[in-house]
């Protein structure tokens, strides 16, 4: 190594504590901003370049750097996102957060020719007040990250240049992953659009046009169709209502032949009164003053099963669906059946 590079290395050793501090500061700022912007990412990481790695860089192109400060990746941070769209959102976040050295920043996603594929990442060279060193921020998707890591492993680890045939195959994979990334983003956008459409249909009361599934049921429940019944049940003992997820009921509702949200709505209307009577019978003689927001729907299902001739076996299946198969569910079904019978439900 020449004297110039030796001097830069010496400068590096002296600057190490500051570089470590810069790394920590960058990590803190990134974590805080990601939380503030409500972004979801798979990884946020940072490192200070090792002396060995710097020595390698200087051996290759030491003359390019007048001082240590000319090297822009002594501190490197990386954010790995789920979706390609999020790379741009985080880039915009970084632009607000740091001073960007545009002359040295590069969007490698745009460097490719129309007929070439390969390394895809957005590299920003950034600066924050109080530090004389710049740092590099890499932004890429999980798939781009996987490709880059594997490419690095196969291409550089051994130090032996790999044949063009293999390079071609690796780059073909980059093209494939680029397509997959675009498809994931498209799927996410379409799901978001679908949810918005469903919310609109629910809002407009066009429930027969909406198939019953996890997403649509969640939107429907947000409109609180069981609120009135739950509040009536709570009033029996002046009980508080604990909100609980109703996901387990989707299977039950399907078994009760609800195919659309319109079917669910009709089911609620049809059995609401008897569901309330059952609750009053069960809770009226107790001092229980806490119920879950599932109680109304649970009782509607019980009453519906009994009204449609499902009997004890139907109730047992309901409890199995809600709570997993258990021998005691048969006993519970028997008890509920007797209670309902006394009410002529």
């Amino acid at each position: 190594m020449d004297l110039h590079s030796e001097m830069i290395l010496e400068e590096y050793r002296e600057a190490l504590p500051v570089l470590e501090q810069l790394k920590e500061q960058v990590l803190t700022m990134l974590h805080e901003a990601i939380g503030r912007y409500g972004l979801e990412v798979t990884a946020v990481e940072a490192r200070v370049k090792t002396e060995q790695s710097l020595a390698g860089k200087l051996a290759l192109k030491g003359a390019k750097y007048a001082t240590l400060r000319d090297i822009t990746d002594l501190v490197g941070a990386r954010i790995v996102t789920y979706y390609t769209d999020d790379v741009d959102r985080i880039a915009s976040m970084a632009e607000q957060l740091f001073e960007i050295d545009w002359n040295n920043s590069v969007d490698k996603r745009r460097l490719h020719q129309l007929d070439s594929f390969g390394y895809n990442s957005l590299h920003y060279i950034c600066k924050i007040p109080g530090y004389n060193f710049r740092f590099e921020l890499q932004l890429r998707t999980t798939l781009q990250h996987a490709w880059a890591a594997i490419n690095h492993d196969t291409g550089y680890k051994t130090g032996i240049e790999i044949p063009k045939e293999y390079l071609r195959r690796i780059n073909r994979l980059a093209g494939l992953l680029e397509m997959a990334d675009d498809e994931f983003s498209r799927i996410r956008s379409e799901i978001t659009d679908y949810r918005r459409r469903v919310e609109q249909l629910v809002k407009n009361g066009k429930l027969d046009d909406v198939q019953l599934d996890g997403d649509t049921f969640r939107s429907y429940i947000q409109a609180k169709p069981l609120d009135r019944l739950n509040k009536r049940i709570a009033a029996i003992n002046q009980a508080e209502i604990q909100e609980v997820p109703l996901t387990r009921y989707i299977r039950v509702l399907r078994a009760l032949r609800c195919n659309t949200l319109g079917d669910v709505s009709r089911l609620i209307r049809q059995y609401e009164e008897d569901a309330y009577r059952l609750a009053r019978h069960q809770l009226g003689n107790t001092d229980i003053d806490i119920i879950s927001s599932a109680i109304g729907l649970q009782n509607i299902c019980i009453v519906c099963i009994l009204s449609t001739g499902g009997g004890k076996i139907g109730l047992e299946r309901l409890f199995d669906a809600l709570n997993g198969h258990n021998s005691q569910n048969s006993e519970l079904a028997e008890l509920t059946y007797e209670q309902a019978k006394s009410l002529q439900l």
């Binding site: 009980a239 604990q242 609980v244 997820p245 109703l246 387990r248 009921y249 609750a279 069960q282 809770l283 107790t286 001092d287 229980i288 003053d289 806490i290 119920i291 879950s292 927001s293 599932a294 109680i295 109304g296 649970q298 409890f319 809600l322 709570n323 997993g324 258990n326 005691q328 006993e331 519970l332 008890l335 509920t336």
Partner: protein, 100 residues
């Protein structure tokens, strides 16, 4: 009312015995406090010796479940008697807990 907590591998087992009524709720809530900090484990609420549960008892179970969810833990309620199962059913909590 008695509450015992022991740790075994990836599980933390809280065993309840007696009647978890309003009077017993305060000492029981105190006794289960360590469960609220348990991270990434299975919390077993063993109710084989539990005779009765009141609303206050349900609230304790709910708070354990809520904290477990925020700490990456999972709550399993085990060996409840028929009366307690009925309380879980008529309050609508049967679909919330993993009851074995």
């Amino acid at each position: 009312m008695n509450t015992q907590i022991k740790e075994s591998g990836n599980q933390v087992i809280a065993s309840f015995s007696g009647r978890l009524d309003t009077a017993a709720a305060v000492p029981t809530a105190e006794a289960v406090k360590p469960l609220l900090e348990v991270e990434n484990k299975e919390i077993i609420l063993d109710c084989s010796q539990l005779e009765y549960i009141s609303s206050s008892g349900l609230r304790i179970f709910l708070s354990i479940r809520k904290e477990a969810a925020t700490h990456g833990s999972k709550v399993i309620v085990r060996n409840i008697n028929a009366d307690i199962r009925q309380v879980f059913m008529m309050t609508g909590f049967i679909s919330l807990f993993d009851i074995q």
